[in-house]
Symmetry: none
DNA sequence: CATGAATGAGGGTTCATTCAT
DNA sequence: AATGAATGAACCCTCATTCAT
């Protein structure tokens, strides 16, 4: 529901009540409980939709690249492109992921995506094996890349006019350099 | 209030009601409304306390370093040390910063600290001027450093046994390398 | 509607929503509102159907008996036989009768059946006139007989395996004795 | 809460919402959730209170009687006296007991009181052993006595002016006679 | 200074009913 | 005839805050 995304971005996860969402969509709030299992499911559905999208884009980008460094660059570029093209959705999804807690109080964003982790660590490990990267800790590298990319989203959130392509032109070389990559062999 | 920090970390910002906090502190919840302006002020006070602490530590570390690259490394090390020594407080403060919205719906974490930005950008700019760093975009560099450090906090949150000193040993060289720093001239 | 009876018995009058009834019947809930005036009418229809059935059976049994005491025994036996053969329907009907309130808040089960009362009081009065029964209060006698029979339904509800024929073998002599009847003159 | 009893009697269990109860009590509905665990607990508390009262009265009456038949008569008289003196409470308690279902859909009134059953069956069994009563089925006898007494409550509910003492004068000899008791040895 | 009873607004959800298809 | 999407009222409950004690 677009209204859910807009509402979450406007007033935040905690104040995104069914009443607010419904009002923004111009419908009765009971519809939400009717079409979804409840508020929870609606927001989790938003997350799922968005994160599936970003995963698809990044995987496709990675698959089209030749060597580990190029794959990492493609991953980052794909991520930033997705953020550029689906800014609102991404902001909402991250807001939800960061704010949502399951019944045990476990934050959603701490439940990491194993696939994404494996993809990233695999690229780094391959790069190290191929001599493109330094001998870095895989967990630290993976965490840093993800958070650095998240920084781009935050920038875009602070200032909607930020050019994410240009941001990538700056960030991607930094990430590669961080891993010890030398462009000119 | 320590109880507030524990409660926020346990159940999250959203569910951290005055009743829960007061119960954990063993007091009546009306005391909180009595001593603080309200729930809002209590949580903002927690943030302020913690972020003032991290700022003091990082500033002191930076002041003791000689050249820009060393200052940047000292900043990161100071930050990670503070996280190591005040893990619970930091987690709660970030949870609050991420979840809290002011009356206009503006998230607190988007209200950046100008001083911290200036400090970081200054170090990077100095490093570039001194030939220690490449010609990188100051905003991208600053954002990336902060988010990379935040990644360490997230790691520590996922797994409390993570060795943040070792994490820094890995991360700090990455950050310097990202900026084009060459340890051996 | 059989589904309505099953639902009422399963979850009770209060929770027997149209959604539940329709789901159990495998139809859309809007059909119920379409074919009946509403939920209210559906349940009242169930009551009417069942209570008409019990009335028919008891009247027929009474008509076939010769003297007042035999008629009272036949009434009780007919009632218990009906409960035995239509246990689910009776339980649902009583549940509805007990739970339903009209718009004024008047419970349905307090709206006594004048015909049943007249039938029972007539039998008792005839028995007194014929010297079969003691000089008992007609209202007390009638009320007690009905409630004693309802006790059998409750028993059957608590334990579905209860033998209602055997229950009648015990109860009917008690009822006659209560009225002062002496089997052997 | 007296308002809860009044409301249940007025509009029935199902329509006795917190809003109605609070309105009748002249308080905010949130108080109820504050003082009690919830609506459920409030109503169960009413039941408990009332049924504890009736149990105390009947037990005391029974204890003061000499032989089994006198004990049974005392039980019935005690019950009817309690109904006379706490008519509203009893009506509400029975309404709740009959209408309430636990989470499994189990009606509350089917969860019989083992103590009351044992008390009643004990009196009947003693009476049989002492030769005061016929050889009747204990379960049928017990169930019939209870339901016959409940009939008095129903009568009183239909017509508030009913004289329950006179009702008892009629009913108690019936009950004893039903069990085969002969007053004049 | 501390308390707990009380409040009223707002939360998500359920429900019988309506209506265009 | 049958449907499912949509509704709005009512449901119970949670909450931050107030206030007399």
């Amino acid at each position: 529901m677009d209204a859910a995304i807009a509402t979450v971005n406007d007033v935040g996860y905690h104040r995104a009540s069914l009443a607010q969402i419904a009002a923004r969509a111009g419908i009765a709030k009971s519809i939400i409980s009717y079409h979804f299992e409840g508020k929870e499911q609606l927001l989790l559905y938003v997350i799922d939709e968005v994160f599936t999208g970003v995963e698809k884009v990044t995987r496709a980008a990675v698959a089209a690249a030749d060597d580990p460094a190029a794959r990492l660059a493609a991953f980052a570029r794909g991520y930033l492109t997705f953020v550029r093209d689906h800014r609102e959705e991404m902001i909402a999804a991250v807001e939800i992921a960061v704010s949502h807690r399951d019944v045990d109080g476990m934050p959603l964003y701490l439940a990491e995506s194993d696939e994404e982790n494996a993809l990233l660590e695999g690229m780094v490990a391959d790069g190290i094996a191929a001599g493109q990267f330094r001998q870095v800790d895989l967990t630290v590298a993976r965490t840093t890349v993800i958070h650095a990319l998240d920084g781009a989203l935050t920038r875009s959130q602070i200032d909607a006019r930020v050019d994410l392509d240009a941001y990538g032109d700056q960030l991607i070389p930094m990430l590669l350099a961080a891993l010890g990559y030398r462009p000119d062999g």
